[in-house]
Symmetry: C2
Subunit: 343 residues, 2 copies
């Protein structure tokens, strides 16, 4: 049967000061009234029932997620520590197979914005079918709509049939010239939406993912804590997909955004006539091109252009929009008592 | 004897959202740890004793001022309504003469920043002496240090002796070309620091200030409320100084700023190496030329230039510094529920 594994980990500071360890990006109503995690679960309706949706999250997030999502409590896989995506997916795939030896898994993240669910569901269904039909780890690529240096790219290879192709190579976060060349070659954005049978995935991981595979006997014994103590942190892309020959890619056609930071808000929320994207009580007076988020305190933007202005969690950020991608480095330069948000 | 009349009226929105009707500019610690009103009273020490300092203020301000200043309560003249400076000074001068028939009055405002008190006191003493020696309404002019369109100017005329000159004319808030010409002619900034004998002042007001003088019998009867009902609002400059021939000007040499708005803060507070003037918990990261005031919530300024950023009274203002002088017009465009500060 089809299962979904929802990766909801990651503390994330890309929406500082709105995102916090207990309320990261996936719990924020970034694109509309519901959080991206709620939207993600809603998007699976009709494709995979809630009792076959597994959620991998850290301990801080399990409670907030359980309060928001209608997923059985037994389906929450609480990571003893964050260890990137390969250990999480090995554990979740192992667990799905324990419950259903014929499990086919759809792997997705809880922090994407997908405005139109129908083509997404169509692509997910196609990926699950391709994973079974070709017995491969299937990645879903979407056609890029801009030169984006923050995403990973998939260069498709020779056809396998059913619109499914081999993968020539993966390229993570290219610079602008490389990204431009990738677009010209027909490379696709790596959405992070994957499908595989549990059997094939675990077989490939045993061969290729030495950072994780030696710890698998721990899971056999039900020793999740030991598994996480033993594994080394590594992403599924680097630790498995880039190493395995049994990968494939299908091309999908849905609007998708991983909302990587404040600047991305302008892609997923409507703008006013002056190009301002405003959330909460924000009053623009001759302001243009600004992104502003008030979490309670009214903000007035007067005569300013191309700023990110955020009030949340007892902090105020005023940031040049052109520097929005550097937020992580900017935060590293703040004194801890300013950077660390009140609990 | 010498008396001081401290004008502390004016609700003022020029420091919105920090200034409020109950805590206007003169109660704010704009230039240092003490409010400008406290600094003003401290500056008079050794020149005029507290029991001869009269304070004219609106009802909302009397309490806050009394809590901060060591001035006898009987010296607070609480205006029944704001009516500009001529009625206030006529009343205060009348009251000083009632207490002391030989009163000479030094008139000053509670919202100036004067970094060095010594030359100020020297000028005030000279003005009081000149007022008695020449029996004139004596204005104090300082040599301009920049082309400033927000101030009034005094063009000195022929000498009267003792460095005291007649006034050729007053010019209020000139445009840039006019201000430039005034500087070339040797015009002085009209500080608003004045001195006069009560006798001469009331005689001149009776002749020239028809908006106020007919109401004087009310003060004779102790009917302050009736006086304020009867007078018409008019400033001392327009209502008396510009009309009287018995005016004079002395040139003083002290640093003086009326701190007319957020941009003026950069003249009265020290800047960091990047030209940022910051008050409260404000962290600049590659920010330059900004003026920021946090009244409690930490502010981060990242990669931005030439902004005014203020957090106070449950509001956040982000303003182009070049537009700082337009704050009044900007406020007029805000919805009342944003503009009006919580009580």
């Amino acid at each position: 049967m089809d299962w979904a594994v929802l990766l909801a980990g990651g503390s994330g500071t890309r929406f500082w000061p709105l995102s916090s360890p207990t309320r990261p990006k996936q719990l924020l109503p970034l694109a509309g009234p519901r959080s991206t995690a709620e939207e993600t679960v809603a998007r699976l309706e009709g494709l995979i029932p809630p009792d076959r949706v597994l959620i991998v999250a850290g301990g801080q997030l399990a409670g907030p997620l359980q309060r928001r999502l209608s997923i059985p409590f037994a389906n929450y896989l609480v990571e003893p520590r964050p260890a990137s995506t390969a250990p999480a997916l090995v554990w979740a795939t192992f667990e799905a197979r324990r419950r259903d030896p014929d499990a086919t898994i759809l792997s997705l993240h809880a922090d994407w914005v997908v405005p139109d669910p129908a083509p997404f569901v169509q692509a997910a269904r196609a990926a699950l079918q391709a994973a079974r039909a070709h017995d491969r780890l299937v990645t879903v690529g979407v056609v890029p709509t801009r030169v984006e240096t923050g995403y990973g790219y998939i260069v498709p290879g020779s056809p396998l049939g059913d619109a499914c192709r081999r993968v020539a190579r993966f390229t993570e976060k290219p610079d602008v010239p490389t990204a431009t060349r990738l677009l010209a070659e027909g490379a696709l954005w790596n959405t992070g939406l994957f499908a595989w049978t549990a059997e094939r995935f675990l077989a490939e991981a045993r061969v290729h993912t030495q950072e994780v595979a030696p710890a698998l006997p721990r899971l056999d014994r039900g020793d999740v804590a030991g598994f996480f103590r033993e594994v080394r942190d590594i992403s599924i892309d680097v630790g498995l997909l880039e190493r395995s020959a049994a990968v494939a890619v299908i091309t999908a056609d849905f609007a998708w955004d991983d909302v990587g930071g404040w600047d991305a808000l302008a892609r997923v929320r409507p703008a006013d006539a002056a190009g301002n994207v405003l959330a909460g009580t924000v009053t623009p007076v001759d302001a243009a091109g600004c992104i502003a988020w008030s979490d309670g305190i009214p903000i007035v933007l007067a005569g300013v252009r191309d700023l990110v202005v955020v009030e949340a969690n007892g902090r105020i950020l005023v940031l040049d929009r052109a520097r929005a991608a550097d937020l992580k480095q900017i935060l590293a330069r703040l004194p801890p008592e300013v950077r660390d948000l009140p609990a």
